[in-house]
């Protein structure tokens, strides 16, 4: 029963090779399979596949009847309607959003996707349909009221949200603890596992209003970031259509009514629609 050492070395190399293989994967130039579908191909197939979050209410979630709902979802349904296609929702995670696009397993991602220059190298963003300002929630007893107070503090964020992207880029001095779910983040905050929670200011205000002993010390941290739909790199027919579509939607104030239906019932009057909604694909 002897296993020569070189066998194991060999298998080690083999697994590394496999990994390296998957490695070259993220260069779109080398892709052969899974080509993105053009606008015409989507229309003639009669179905459009859109990747959304399934557990980030009120943007993309699944209701008690098992149906997709939320701000992103209403936009997605409208896109499908105006394309004359049926929509098929694909639940995505922060870590798989781009892979789904690169392999053309979805046509569009509408999953609270914060626009950054680095991401724009991997996917093509359409015009924005929302902007997000960040809020900082902290205990009233040790309120954080200025950005420089965050330095060295243990800050809670939810993965895949704008807060995570923003803090990593602009405040590398802050120690982040990252949770998968909103409820995990708030539980951790209540249990004293962090000094502050940074999240969309809408979420921050709505949660702090209902929780005892917590306050939104900073209601607007940094400049607002934009949220946009994304298509596979190089899929210009679809992106151009989306941009044109945003202009049309802007004329009827579509996103204001989307806001009224999905966000207002959750966030109330703490913020106004204009602080969040972007019409016409332009700030």
């Amino acid at each position: 029963m002897s296993v020569p050492r070189r066998l194991i070395l060999g298998s080690a190399l083999a697994s590394l090779a496999l990994a390296a293989c998957s490695g070259s994967s993220s260069t779109p130039a080398s892709s052969t399979g899974g080509k993105a579908r053009t606008l015409e191909e989507i229309k003639s197939s009669g179905t459009i596949r859109i990747g959304v979050f399934s557990d980030k209410a009120p943007f993309g979630y699944v209701d008690a009847e098992g149906k997709y709902a939320g701000y992103d979802v209403i936009y997605a349904e409208r896109i499908a309607k105006d394309l004359g296609a049926k929509v098929e929702f694909v639940p995505v995670e922060a870590a798989s959003r781009v892979e789904f696009l690169e392999t053309a397993k979805v046509d569009i991602i509408l999953a609270n996707f914060t626009v950054t220059p680095e991401r724009a190298e991997k996917v093509d963003f359409a015009g924005p349909y929302m902007k997000v300002s960040l809020g900082v929630v902290s205990p009233e007893a040790a309120a954080i009221t200025a950005a420089d107070q965050l330095a060295g503090k243990n800050v809670i964020v939810v993965k895949g949200t704008t807060a995570e992207t923003f803090l990593e880029k602009n405040h590398p001095e802050v120690k982040l603890t990252k949770y998968e779910q909103y409820t995990e983040a708030t539980n951790a905050l209540i249990d004293g596992r962090g000094d502050a929670w940074v999240t969309d200011n809408t979420e921050a205000l709505a949660w702090a209003a209902g929780a005892q002993g917590f306050t939104v010390g900073i209601a607007s941290l940094g400049n607002p970031d934009t949220i946009a739909g994304a298509v596979t790199k190089g899929n210009s027919t679809l992106r151009d259509w989306l941009n044109q579509h945003l202009v049309t939607l802007g004329e009827e104030k579509f996103f204001h009514s989307d806001y009224e239906q999905t966000l207002k019932p959750v966030y109330g009057d703490a913020v106004s629609a204009d602080e969040l909604v972007v019409e016409g694909g332009k700030l």
Partner: protein
């Protein structure tokens, strides 16, 4: 593959490797202790303790670590007990691993033919002596592959600790993919780090299994 990205993110991965090793090492030692304890109690047929062990084993191996950690981390504070994430992870891993180790050891013990026990006894060996010199060496040899699989399983199972916001290897890889989209580099580093941790374990276990095999009868 972009080596600059790999270089830039290497420190994060090294930190995550250390965390993974730390949590896994304590968890595995804990699991072995719990496992030996449980296997002994079952073997000795202690009345009440045996039932308790049975209940523990069934709960532990029939529910996911993810859920166990969730209750340790988010549930206990409701009762006023706040344990930090890393301790939760070690406790959770011990709780889960204990039953897997117990089962592996038990199947090893059961595989030793009863005639050996009787023969040893008739040769005048005491119960403890029989256990130490006759039964245990064979049982361990038989249980080795399962124990190895468990150890590797527990190391890889540490990836679940991201539910309690610990930055283990899978967590940092997913993070890198999710925010920078350098999937290739992240997966490469992930596999390399696991290789560094698991290869010595796998190698060592293979060697140990071959050493112990000499203890079995008729080989």
């Amino acid at each position: 593959m972009n080596w600059a990205v790999i270089q830039a993110t290497l420190p994060t991965f090294i930190e995550a490797t250390l965390l993974t090793v730390r949590v896994a090492a304590f968890g595995i030692v804990g699991a072995l202790i719990v496992g030996i304890l449980c296997a002994t109690i079952t073997r000795a047929k202690l009345p009440v303790a045996r039932q308790l062990v049975w209940v523990y084993v069934e709960i532990s191996r029939n529910t996911p670590l993810l859920g166990q950690l969730f209750f340790l981390y988010y549930g206990l504070p409701k009762l006023g007990i706040v344990v930090d994430a890393e301790h939760c992870a070690v406790i959770g891993l011990t709780f889960l691993g204990g039953s897997f180790m117990a089962e592996a050891l038990r199947s090893g013990l059961d595989a030793v033919e009863p005639i050996q026990w009787q023969s040893a006894q008739s040769l005048g060996l005491s119960g403890v002596q029989t256990m130490r010199h006759v039964i245990l060496p064979q049982a361990t040899a038989i249980a080795m592959p399962a124990l190895t699989a468990n150890v590797i399983f527990l190391i890889k199972e540490t990836s679940v600790v991201s539910i309690i916001a610990l930055a283990d290897l899978v967590f940092v890889a997913k993070e890198q993919i999710g925010s920078d989209y350098t999937t290739a580099e992240a997966l490469f580093l992930l596999v390399s780090c696991y290789l560094v941790i698991l290869l010595p374990v796998s190698l060592g276990a293979g060697w140990l299994e071959r050493r112990l095999r000499h203890a079995t009868f008729g080989d």
